[in-house]
């Protein structure tokens, strides 16, 4: 009888949700199924509006209407080579990145795994990633999705949309433009680890991304590592599918030569892409000859290696802000007037009406964004003066915000005049009358 009652209570406890439910080992990251945007042709016209709530995919239709190529991974199903390609990518990704229950970067003993483990800025050891994955599934999954696709259950109703990590792009970064040790540019603008940590700590003001500052510091660190894991996994997948689908003239020419060898032609394009970026001298033919089988896999391995080194390099190339010539002194009217002058040359094209009349634009994910309204003190990338400095001097690459181009005179003075001006815009009472009149009109005091 006693056993019966104990069992009864245990069952009740289980139903009520006591105990931790783990994700089964068999669950794998879904292979990308949503469209890729071919960024080679920039959209000619601005989007008409934000996509309606719950229908973020509408913006892709607007892009397609403008002739921007939308690459649909489902198209691979219509070719035998396409199915084989997709399977090879999937096998590679599962092999190198594991599953949500057991995430990792790089095969056991591989060079990639060694980089990920040893680099403290990446911190991609399996134990860390496992902890990150657990917290991710608890706190992030329902907006950012299991594989970091930014399409979780609630995502469609949020504006801005949750970030799709699988493109390896981040908006709010403090990485200086730099070259890799091979002399190449990184494929994309990479974040430093502190940029991801800042976002986790502070959240993104003005968006649905909340602050996680009250989590244990180890959990925040693990989440940052896991974000990198998802980004790197997603980007390998991204480029592998991108070259399988894109229709540029060279690819079409190569395929026309021998339509039966489409897979080979596309693999060569993928290798050319990956290796060319890494080392212009490298001979694709030579690489092809050396690697007798599984060319695509060999290429993806190279790409993974490269991505890891890019993220590690980003961390060592922070923007070093020029010292504020005014120090801690309060902002002067002269400084504000200078800032306004720079603003009207550098910023006003996009931040029309100080951001109140900003025109919408497409970002690199095919979504719709609006240049910030600078008359309200809401700063997504952080409100510290240095955060604004980073935005000004790095821009927001995935959204097409260019970095400011200050040429004449004293660059440090100009930079901090602009930062001080931006920080003052939302507070009319702190502005000199003529600037206040210009920005806020006569009504607001």
């Amino acid at each position: 009888m006693a056993w019966l009652s104990v069992t009864g209570l245990a069952v009740t406890g289980g139903i009520l949700g006591c105990g931790v439910v783990e994700i089964p080992d068999g669950v794998v990251y879904p292979l990308r199924s949503n469209p890729l945007i071919n960024l080679e042709k920039a959209p000619a016209t601005a989007p008409p509006a934000f996509p309606p709530p719950g229908k973020p995919e509408v913006s892709l239709r607007w892009l397609a209407d403008q002739g921007v190529a939308i690459l649909n991974p489902a198209d691979l199903d219509s070719h035998e080579w396409g199915k084989a390609w997709r399977d090879e990518v999937n096998t590679f990704l599962i092999g190198q990145f594991g599953t949500p229950a057991k995430p990792r970067v790089g095969n056991e003993g591989s060079a990639a795994a060694a980089i990920g483990k040893l680099s403290t800025s990446l911190n991609l050891a399996p134990a860390v990633l496992e902890r990150g994955s657990k917290q991710y599934r608890r706190l992030c999954l329902h907006c950012h999705g299991l594989g970091g696709e930014g399409a979780g259950a609630t995502s469609g109703w949020l504006n801005p949309l949750p970030r799709d990590f699988r493109q390896g792009e981040f908006k709010f970064i403090s990485t200086a433009e730099h070259k890799l040790e091979t002399g190449n540019q990184p494929l994309k603008a990479r974040p430093r680890r502190v940029d991801i940590l800042r976002t986790l700590h502070q959240g993104l003001d003005g968006t649905s991304m909340p602050s996680f500052a009250l989590l244990a510091e180890e959990d925040i660190q693990a989440l940052a590592s896991y974000t990198l894991h998802l980004s790197i996994r997603g980007e390998v997948e991204y480029w592998a599918l991108y070259y399988a689908l894109r229709q540029d003239t060279e690819t079409i020419k190569a395929i026309e030569k021998d339509p039966k060898k489409e897979a080979q032609a596309r693999t060569a394009r993928f290798l050319a892409g990956a290796l060319e970026w890494e080392d212009p001298e490298a001979d694709v033919e030579d690489f092809v000859a050396k690697t007798k089988d599984k060319l695509l896999t060999a290429g993806m391995e190279k790409l993974l290696d490269r991505l890891l080194r890019e993220y590690a390099a980003a961390d060592k190339n922070p923007i070093q802000p020029m010292a504020d010539p005014y120090g801690d002194a309060p902002t002067t009217s002269q400084s504000l007037a200078n800032g306004l002058k720079i603003f009207q040359v550098q910023c006003v094209n996009c931040h029309a009406g100080y951001g109140r009349q900003s025109a919408l634009r497409f970002d690199n994910w095919g979504g719709v964004v609006r240049p910030a309204n600078l008359t309200t003190p809401v700063y997504k990338g952080g409100r510290r003066p240095v955060d604004l400095y980073y935005r000004i001097f790095r821009g927001i690459p995935p959204c097409g915000m260019p970095k400011a181009n200050l040429q004449d005179g004293d660059p440090a003075r100009q930079a901090w005049d602009l930062v001080r001006f931006l920080l003052a815009i939302p507070y009319p009472e702190t502005l000199p009358p003529e600037i206040r009149q210009q920005i806020h009109g006569g009504a607001k005091q």
């Binding site: 134990a127 909340p210 180890e218 959990d219 409100r383 240095v386």
Partner: protein, 343 residues
């Protein structure tokens, strides 16, 4: 703080300290186990009235013992953080006391009717139409309800009074604001954004206006409400999206945030939650109004520093971080990250 701690450092699991019901503590299983045993005994037992009466008596005794035990060990309610909270607890205990009396009376009557000898003719005596009884069971509850209604009046007045010194004043006059610290709390899906007016500076002439028009030297924080022992904190409650409810269990404080409104609340932080050894007792902030998918993680904490100086230190640290013209974190991640064998 933001330093990489290396792969092995991050493995050890440390859950954030939160207020929660400790299911693993054995004392909570005792009444459940007793109830379960009683249930199975009932399945086996013959259905005699005496057995039923004993069962009901046992149940009443268990409930009474458990209640008293929990109340004695402070297991029911979290720590109270100010005097008003203690008053609210007093009202809770009053209501509990009154209802307990009637619980035991009804249980006693129930047991009595079961164990007494049945009348000779086997029929119960109906009480329908007994005016004395009817008047009694109207007057007695009316009396006790009146007692509760009157007993809560002073507390209610402190909560929703006409003066600006009420906890959630009905008639708030910004010109007579006597608070020591001004904080705008903006609920948004899914966090609390706090904005502090620097108490070292002159107080905004109209706090209500300040709540909607930030000043340049405001200090911003997320999910953390800081104050000091003995302070009167004016909370300006706002929301940017849907209805949230700002709930601080230790203060017995709960107030909805309504879109388009600024609700001025006054919080007295009479007690510090920093222990003498420097550790902090977790005083939670939670959203008490289902506000969307991530409602459950809309959580913050209250820190009541022991002295105003401690608070000012925290404020100036936060302000320094906020006005950084250099990345203070830059140095933290720079060294020692050479990928294996690459450089």
């Amino acid at each position: 703080m933001l330093l990489d701690k290396g792969p092995s450092a991050a493995v050890e699991a440390t859950e954030p300290a939160v207020l929660h019901f400790n299911w693993s503590a054995s004392e909570h299983w005792i009444p459940l186990a007793l109830t379960a045993v009683a249930f199975f005994t009932w399945l086996l037992a013959t259905r005699s009235n005496k057995f039923w009466a004993a069962l009901i008596g046992l149940n009443a005794a268990t409930v009474a013992g458990y209640t008293a035990w929990c109340a004695y060990n402070h297991l029911w309610l979290p720590e109270t953080a100010n005097d008003l909270g203690a008053e609210v607890d007093g009202l809770f205990n009053l209501v509990l006391f009154l209802t307990s009396i009637f619980y035991f009376i009804t249980q006693a009557v129930l047991i009595y009717t079961m164990v007494q000898k049945p009348p000779a003719n086997g029929r119960a005596k109906p009480v329908h139409g007994n005016h004395t009884l009817e008047i009694a069971w109207m007057l007695v509850p009316a009396f006790f309800l009146a007692v509760i209604a009157i007993a809560q009046l002073p507390t209610w007045a402190k909560m929703k009074g006409q003066t600006s010194d009420s906890s959630i004043p009905v008639g708030y006059d910004p010109t007579t604001d006597s608070s020591d610290l001004l904080v705008t709390v903006t609920g948004k899906q899914w966090e609390w954004r706090m904005r502090y007016a620097d108490p070292a500076k002159a107080k905004p002439t109209n706090p209500l206006l300040w709540a909607s028009t930030p000043a340049t030297d405001d200090v911003h924080a997320v999910n953390e409400l800081h104050s000091w022992q003995g302070a009167k904190v004016r909370l300006m409650l706002r929301t940017t999206d849907v209805i949230h409810s700002f709930f601080m269990p230790q203060f017995r404080f709960k107030q909805d945030m309504l879109p388009g409104k600024t609700i001025p609340a006054l919080l007295r932080t009479d007690k510090t939650n920093i222990n003498s050894d420097g550790t902090e007792r977790c005083w939670e902030i939670a959203c008490a109004e289902l506000c969307g998918g991530n409602h459950y993680r809309m959580r913050g904490k209250v820190v009541v520093h022991a002295t105003r100086e401690d608070f000012m230190r925290w404020l100036s640290e936060t302000k320094t971080k906020q006005t950084a013209r250099k990345d203070s974190l830059a140095a933290a991640t720079k060294p020692s990250d050479t990928p294996a064998g690459k450089e």
